[in-house]
Symmetry: C2
Subunit: 324 residues, 2 copies
Amino acid sequence: MVLTVNPLKLINKDLKKLEFRLREFLQIPVPVLSETGVYLLEAGGKRVRPIFALLAGKLFNYDESTLFTVAMAIEIIHMASLAHDDIVDDSTLRRGRPTLAARWGKAAAVVTGDYLLAQAMQLIYGVKNKEVTSLLAHTSTEMCRGEICQIQASHDTRQSVHDYFYKIRRKTALLLSLSCEAGAVVSGASREEARVLRQYGQCLGVAFQIMDDVLDIEATKEEIGKPPASDVRQGIITLPMLIAMNEGGAGSVRLRELLTRKEKTTAEVAEATALIRRSGGPARCRETARRFITAACRKLPLLPDKPERAALARMAEIVLNRRS
Amino acid sequence: MVLTVNPLKLINKDLKKLEFRLREFLQIPVPVLSETGVYLLEAGGKRVRPIFALLAGKLFNYDESTLFTVAMAIEIIHMASLAHDDIVDDSTLRRGRPTLAARWGKAAAVVTGDYLLAQAMQLIYGVKNKEVTSLLAHTSTEMCRGEICQIQASHDTRQSVHDYFYKIRRKTALLLSLSCEAGAVVSGASREEARVLRQYGQCLGVAFQIMDDVLDIEATKEEIGKPPASDVRQGIITLPMLIAMNEGGAGSVRLRELLTRKEKTTAEVAEATALIRRSGGPARCRETARRFITAACRKLPLLPDKPERAALARMAEIVLNRRS
């Protein structure tokens, strides 16, 4: 059955090639950057965005070199945004290792991010596809808007579910959506096909972030490579928290009180996390994520019937069921 | 005599229009950004880069809307780089006011810079001139290289004059050079004319930065809008310091010792500054700057004989003689 296609197996060779090219690209002959670039690369990550770009592109009449360049550029933008996000969120750990800002200082993290962004732009110009170039500029702008909303909304327990979606659409969904759309656009997809993939990426990105926020509450340090409940600690208000706070009852009131505090003791973080776990938040988040996954896949049948299409459907399931 | 053209008078109307359009552009309907963008704009600055872009473009067959867009984009890139530089240099004052990072926090400064950069890219794409787009991506990359060298070289008194020039070429000269070249390129300059303007901008940019570094040593707080000797305090090793340290004698030894210290008392900063002032550093820097100014102007006669050409020559003089 085509639905059992293993997406990672399908593009395993491509991913290895991509990894090699990323490493080559990040051998930057400049002090500090030569270390920070490779450090970000080795921090791992699942190369989620390149996977989508490659799968989307391979549905059509793709040119390997162009498609790879786009996939690389998007991963580099993602890496740059991680370098800057860790300054913005004041995080010291990511995926079990010190963040770039924690290890090399904020100055180096700012410049590394700027440098990688500039390099990604250069890669994208090289593709000479106006649509992708303009998509990218638009995406960068909107990602910043999402980031600024996150800063603004930190510790603000009065924010609405609407605010949450505004933020994650920009912070996460947009780059995933761009990955799918750009992969398709440079590979000769029709306007309609590109639109299907954009929407797929957007819905999937929202589901991805919701699940990320659930995992931050439910998973163990071993599973996610950082102490859980980092959102609680940093005052980032996520969907499971919003649901838990809006349930009513003494638990909700206490949770709101705890989450409003800018400084929390370890005991307070644990108490807030327990309150969210015990609430209906996580389960309702999973439902919501499932609805987005269903929406993501709805129009996939409009795309060419290739193994990559089945792989995209399977990726959606993986996002929903991931534990790390 | 054409050489007495007052550059600012010549493009006074254009600058007013630019100021208006920048302000309009920075009315960003996003929390925080709506304040930080305008704050950066109101911090003033002399709009040096737009002045060069406008003068360069007006030498040729320019399209007003395109030329203005380029000038605006470059000023916005400059503003973005200031927002990030102040994090990198850990500065709290710029032009007499708290830096963005000092007032809104580093997180807001990172995102404001990222947002403005993305916006500038969008403006530049809009111009639909491939050469300018690729010039810009290249410039951004190289500017980061300069910035990283500055981080690396801070407090490092063993750095060479060569290191200094590598750094300021990228940190300052490149964007000035881009201003001149991009203004010309979008206005139909020939390849040779664009090259003349690029080199003019580069030499002028180097002279500009050298004079900036001299002023930081010699000027008063009132003149430059920030406490003088901020480079000494921050451990940024500039040309006047390098010359003073290399003169030999007890003063040089003492200066080197002081500049190597990462933490300096107010008395130590004052002592180091006095040693540099008394050395031959400032005078030799002025000579060096003058040589770059001469080089900048050498090929101007190859450009169309218009008032803007005389204005460019005059700008070079202004850079050399500025007191603030």
